[in-house]
């Protein structure tokens, strides 16, 4: 495959698409499938066939369209005079799917009951870079990805740029790791490039373990080639020939789509030997996780790829110097790799126009919890939190009062309503004791009790602690015990002091990110919702005098 071949393929596909009058896209991501999206797709295909519309209608399954709470979603794009403008339908069932063909396509009449207003802030306030193809192209077709400008960036990198130029471009763009910590990607690649090693690896972290986060899954399901392209560019930049995608086993559909995408890319010579007739060889394999949250931590993930227990290792040495099988390894999150191709294609200047001074680009968030518009969104960095929750998200459900937003999953914190004007970027979030995290954003209203929320996260960390280091293994257990005591109204002020001490100890002394960040939910709720803890405390006298004290001791 040469660049000319690629361009020809792209033109052919564009030609094919332009010949069709209607393009019906149904959401084939896991969220919509689980509420009947695949059945809707089948009905659409069957009806198009029944009415002999094959020649003018394209029915394709696409990636996530964003508004997951109102799924299944169907989008129709028509070209030609006198036809309806691009339309989206929500809550589509088999009956509505039939109507879409009989009414929308054949008669040109919109189905008002299921029509979705795409001029709402949920759609207009977003800026899409990572998700630009999600919901626009067939997620199982490499041709459609190429027609949307795919693999051009890889071609440009391999044929026109030196590896160091690629790294420099990424560095200049200001792209930072989207897994949560925000380490500058260009810097990381530079270290791996310089590191000594006969073999180097590129690893994609798709072990999206944070509960309430589904950004990576949506990207892998909706646009898998984008991730592969990003990895290949990374491989070229650092001098690696082998890549691994480590995907969690809970995402069978994402694994399936990835496998298909790798096969397609290999067949076209976009992965494998002599890519674009250069000296560059690159292969990608999939490794499947087995349900351990700690494997999202980079050193634990590498252990797991090697077929071992996912126990983290002390850093340094960092994986950039000694990673997989002791070799220099680039390890980035799915979303980070998904940003690479657009940066190379459009240049670093284009990318750095989005976002704030220190946090460039966009961030994908999974909106969930007590919020009207649950789903997947992509916003420029630095957007105020209020805008995400009230404009895009539509505010809390059923008019209840907003209480807190939780970011960063079990490693993050809760942001109260006083900080709603907060700019969403790495530094600002850290300032209020939370983290950007991988992008889960859970909205809680007045019905959520913050002590219980902290307890919930601590139970999670306690269960998921790998057990290697003592502060995390024992500390999380004791913090959980104290929180349990508080929520059962058996704790005293002394327990509160102990709780805070313990949290700081676990934070300071744990080996890996899991333990170091495990107390964050407790610390942040203590900071902003201390009164809720204190309201549950028991006065010292009654506690010591009561029978419960002895009973607890004997336990």
């Amino acid at each position: 495959m040469t660049i000319e071949d690629l361009q020809e393929l792209s033109e052919q596909e564009q030609q094919r698409q332009s010949e069709k009058k209607h393009r019906i896209l149904y959401c084939a991501a896991a969220g919509c499938i689980s509420c009947g999206g695949d059945k809707v797709g089948n009905v659409l295909k069957a009806k198009v066939k029944e009415y002999n519309l094959d020649k003018e209608c394209d029915v394709v399954g696409s990636g996530c369209m964003g508004l997951c709470g109102e799924g299944p979603l169907v989008k129709i794009q028509s070209r030609g005079e006198g036809l309806l403008p691009p339309t989206m339908y929500q809550n589509v069932d088999e009956r509505v799917a039939e109507q879409i063909v009989t009414s929308h396509i054949l008669v040109g009449k919109r189905i008002e009951t299921h029509w979705c207003d795409t001029s709402a802030p949920f759609f207009t306030e977003q800026t899409k870079i990572v998700l630009e193809n999600c919901g626009r192209i067939n997620s199982e077709s490499i041709e459609e990805y190429v027609a949307a400008g795919g693999y051009l960036a890889l071609a440009k990198a391999v044929t026109e740029m030196q590896p160091n130029d690629v790294i420099e471009e990424i560095r200049k763009s200001g792209l930072r790791g989207r897994g949560g910590a925000g380490y500058p990607t260009g810097l990381k690649w530079g270290i791996v490039r310089k590191a000594q090693g006969e073999q180097k690896y590129v690893v994609c972290n798709a072990d999206e373990g944070d509960p309430g986060a589904f950004m990576d899954r949506s990207v892998l399901e909706g646009d898998p080639h984008r991730v592969l392209e990003g990895m290949a560019i990374a491989g070229y930049a650092v001098g690696a020939t082998q890549g691994y995608v480590y995907c969690r086993a809970e995402y069978p559909l994402a694994i399936e789509r990835l496998k298909l995408a790798i096969k397609q890319a290999e067949k076209m010579g976009l992965l494998g030997n002599r890519i674009f007739e250069s000296q560059f060889n690159f292969r990608i394999d999939i490794r499947i996780g087995a349900g351990a949250f700690v494997c999202g931590e980079e050193t634990a993930l590498l252990q797991s790829i090697e077929g071992k227990r996912g126990n983290p290792k002390p850093r340094p040495p960092y994986p950039s110097e000694k990673g997989l099988w002791g070799m220099p390894t680039v390890i980035n999150n799915v979303e980070t790799f998904a940003n690479v191709a657009p940066i190379i294609r459009n240049g670093s200047e284009w990318f750095s126009q989005f976002g704030t001074e220190k946090s460039k680009g966009t961030k994908v968030f999974a909106l969930a919890g007590n919020i009207k518009n649950t789903g997947l969104i992509e916003v420029p960095m630095g957007i105020p939190l209020r805008k995400i929750i009230f404009d895009i998200g539509g505010g809390t459900t059923e008019g209840t009062e907003f209480k807190a937003a939780q970011t960063g999953g079990p490693s993050g914190g809760c942001i109260p309503k006083e900080h709603l004007e907060l700019s969403v970027d790495y530094e600002s979030l850290a300032k209020v004791g939370s983290i950007m995290g991988s992008g889960g954003l859970i909205v809680m209203d007045s019905t959520s009790k913050m002590v219980d929320v902290a307890k919930f996260f601590m139970q999670f960390c306690m269960d998921e602690s790998c057990g290697k280091c003592i502060p995390c293994r024992v500390g999380t257990r004791h913090i959980y015990g104290l929180l349990d005591k508080i929520s059962n109204k058996k704790a005293t002020h002394d327990d509160m002091i102990l709780l805070e001490e313990l949290c700081l100890m676990v934070k300071e002394t744990s080996l890996c990110g899991l333990g170091q960040s495990a107390p964050n939910p407790v610390l942040s709720t203590l900071r902003f919702f201390r009164h809720e803890y204190e309201a549950l405390l028991n006065p010292v006298e009654t506690y010591l005098g009561g029978e419960t004290a002895m009973a607890d001791f004997e336990k």
Partner: protein, 177 residues
């Protein structure tokens, strides 16, 4: 490498499938997790004999295989019930009241999550986010994702499920790498 082309002494043909996967990975030790996925996909759970077999085939110490099998939540060392009810306990589902479903089911069936009912009909399992947060609270009932559940509906679903005789494939895992 797998123990030659001979059939397994037990006469169980399923070992052939497992051997094929091991050959595909050239019997390499680092493919242990993949092989365990396949083994669990074929046999439903990982019993001791199976772990010993895998350890031999991959030339790994049994301690390492056992260590890996017990470390990851995805692997079961005990057989599951005929049906599975996997309740998502991710943050979104928690905020939307998954705990109420848990309590309702535990009270009704006198069986904690993580266990199987005494009649071996239903295994109650909790999951760490299945990634369908838009539909919270979510449960995966016999490999089908069901969203926007209520405690009443969950009880109903379990009752319905108990009355259906499970087919073999339902017990088998969805993911076979």
């Amino acid at each position: 490498m797998p123990q030659s082309e001979k059939p397994h002494p037990s006469g169980d043909n399923r070992f052939k499938l497992l051997d094929r996967a091991i050959t595909k990975h050239q019997g390499r030790g680092d493919s242990l997790i993949e092989i365990l996925h396949v083994a669990q996909g074929i046999f439903g759970y990982l019993e001791n004999d199976l772990l010993i077999y895998v350890a031999h085939a991959l030339k790994l110490p049994l301690s390492r295989v056992y260590g890996v099998a017990t470390f990851y939540h995805f692997f079961n060392l005990k057989p599951k019930g005929e049906h599975t009810f996997v309740l998502c306990m991710g943050t979104a589902c928690y905020v939307k009241g998954a705990e109420r479903i848990q309590t309702a089911l535990e009270e009704r069936y006198h069986c904690k999550f993580g266990q199987t009912t005494a009649d071996n009909k239903v295994s109650f399992i909790t999951a760490r986010c299945v990634g369908s947060c838009g539909l919270a609270p979510v449960a995966v009932i016999d490999n089908r994702v069901v969203g926007k559940l209520t405690p009443e509906e969950s009880l109903q679903r379990v009752e319905q499920m108990k009355n259906v005789i499970a087919t073999e494939e339902k017990i088998v895992h969805e993911v076979v790498p």
